[in-house]
Symmetry: C2
Subunit: 327 residues, 2 copies
């Protein structure tokens, strides 16, 4: 069997998650980690995997079947995904929901022009959660959607706290409100405010001499990030933060509550409980990399999302095996 | 908009579920209910829907885009699905897991020969549960699958009780064992016996003068159906059975517990809580009927399962809408 050769661009938490996920698949191999840093300063976790300069990709790296783009959605992916789609089958985890339509359009043009496949917005949200929202609305058209996130670390909210003067370090957990979840599960189809759905819990390390009360006030009143939530702030030492809050757990719930055509209630619930957010996102990206490779081999071209890909494309097994063992 | 014209063959609980599900979709209409009974003896729930003789289908009913086959898996569908695939786009809910590969092969040949699309084994298990087993194994290749059913009425087990001499009527509930579910959710990847996973609860109406002890003994020792389970038997009157056990609730859980590539735990849980088993199966069949129609319009031919169909095909909305609202 000829294995699918994967390249990774960007070697942060997500790049590492992808690297390690590839090790779970016999039909794949990691051809290289591409970095904009000096490759000699980057050590891959997997031995014998070359760390290569990102510039190599512009010359055309012939030994790559699929390039998984592991940069951020704010500035990296809007530039990288169309750029590399012009040359490679690519997969990204672009997750700025509001900008997905624009990102799709730009990437789609690049991929169609080049005759490549580009799968965008893979991961768990967008990604597995999106799939469940779609299937849910299709099989229960008369119903209401609910998505809850957490308990998990929000990178964006942690960053927002760290930008406050007097804050040395911080981690923020998003926590779904159990009573809201139970109300949804009861079938009452509640209308829930932002505050009713999630709590925000902050663990903050202060700079020496900083004013705790002032920092707390700035956090809990911060527009968009915290003002609309019940937020708790805990001050701890850097040692405590490093010891107790180094992990990146996450997860959440997608629910669809409605009625079947015969007027009976139906509740669909999908949940993820993840020890590692980048680890799981990496696992999802790799499964969709297999699908992307197959679509490319079929001669298809253009941008795709998880909605456009038949589930069987994700599996290393053939249809006969899947029907016998999983249907 | 030209609506998708659906025909229903077979008008039991499932046929009625499909009929009522169609009413939830603006892009569909019910062209007719086809029955092997005398149509004059069958009243459709939806007014103005003609009840037509099944024999019409053999002459070619030109006003049908998709025929949803609502017969049973034991004898109806093995004959009907290939037969009608020779003339129509068809969807069935064939659910005898062990015979799916054979059913697929026979239907696939008929559909390929005729240039039609036949989607088989749609519903919730097989169907939505299968999808979750597949996605789960693909994104968590190192993990363990668990499927639990219930709490819900099992038609097959209820029938098995009713065949016992001295039994006038019966309903059997399959119930997942909470402790087993919790063990799976804990991430311990337990090996569970049949007995550890499900309980069986029987509500039985005796014929006058029947021996309760003898009936109970026959139930709890019945091979395959009950012998491997902890089974409880309750004797009640026909009035009580009709009053308290007329509904057909069902549901269950699909879990995938494993590790992401980085060695962190991950748990995926999908669950359904359904007021009406045939109602929800009908809703799923109708969503896949839309997909079947689209595949047929694209000129595709052959048998398909839920694994082979990109999720977007199930939705009445276009890709742009789905990316903006559900991704």
């Amino acid at each position: 069997m000829k294995r699918i050769r994967i390249g990774i661009l960007g070697y942060g938490n997500l790049g590492r998650g992808v690297e390690l996920a590839i090790g779970q698949h016999d039909d794949m191999e990691l051809a290289g980690i591409f970095t904009r840093r000096d490759p000699s300063t980057v050590a891959a976790h997997t031995k014998d995997v070359p760390v290569r300069p990102a510039s190599e990709l512009d010359q055309g790296a012939d030994d790559i079947d699929v390039l998984i783009l592991c940069g951020g959605s704010a500035t990296d992916l809007p530039e990288q995904t169309p750029r590399y789609a012009a040359r490679y089958t690519v997969v990204d985890s672009f997750d700025t929901h509001a900008n997905i339509p624009e990102h799709f359009a730009i990437v789609n043009k690049a991929a169609q022009d080049a005759g490549t496949i580009a799968v965008i917005s893979c991961g768990w949200d967008p990604g597995m959660f999106s799939l469940n929202r779609l299937y849910g609305t299709c099989v229960l058209p008369e119903g209401t959607d609910y998505t809850f996130w957490g308990r998990g670390v929000s990178q964006g909210h942690s960053d927002a706290i760290r930008r406050i003067e007097g804050v040395a370090d911080a981690k923020q957990y998003t926590i779904p409100v159990e009573a809201a979840l139970e109300a949804v599960r009861s079938g009452s189809n509640p209308e829930l405010t932002t505050r009713q759905k999630h709590l925000r819990e902050c663990w903050v390390v202060l700079d020496e001499g900083a004013d705790a009360d002032a920092v707390e006030e700035q956090i809990i009143t911060m527009p968009n990030y915290f003002a609309d939530y019940d937020t708790t702030v805990h001050f701890i030492s850097q040692e405590e933060l490093d010891r107790d809050h180094a992990a990146m757990p996450h997860g959440g719930f997608v629910l669809r509550s409605g009625e079947t055509g015969d007027g009976n209630p139906a509740l669909i619930e999908y949940s993820l409980k993840l020890g590692s957010n980048p680890g799981f996102t990496g696992n999802v990206l790799v499964a969709f990399a297999r699908a992307a490779h197959r679509l490319a081999q079929e001669g298809q071209a253009g941008a795709r999302t998880v909605f456009d890909i038949a589930p069987a494309y994700l599996s290393p097994y053939g249809g006969e095996y899947l029907r016998e063992h999983l249907l």
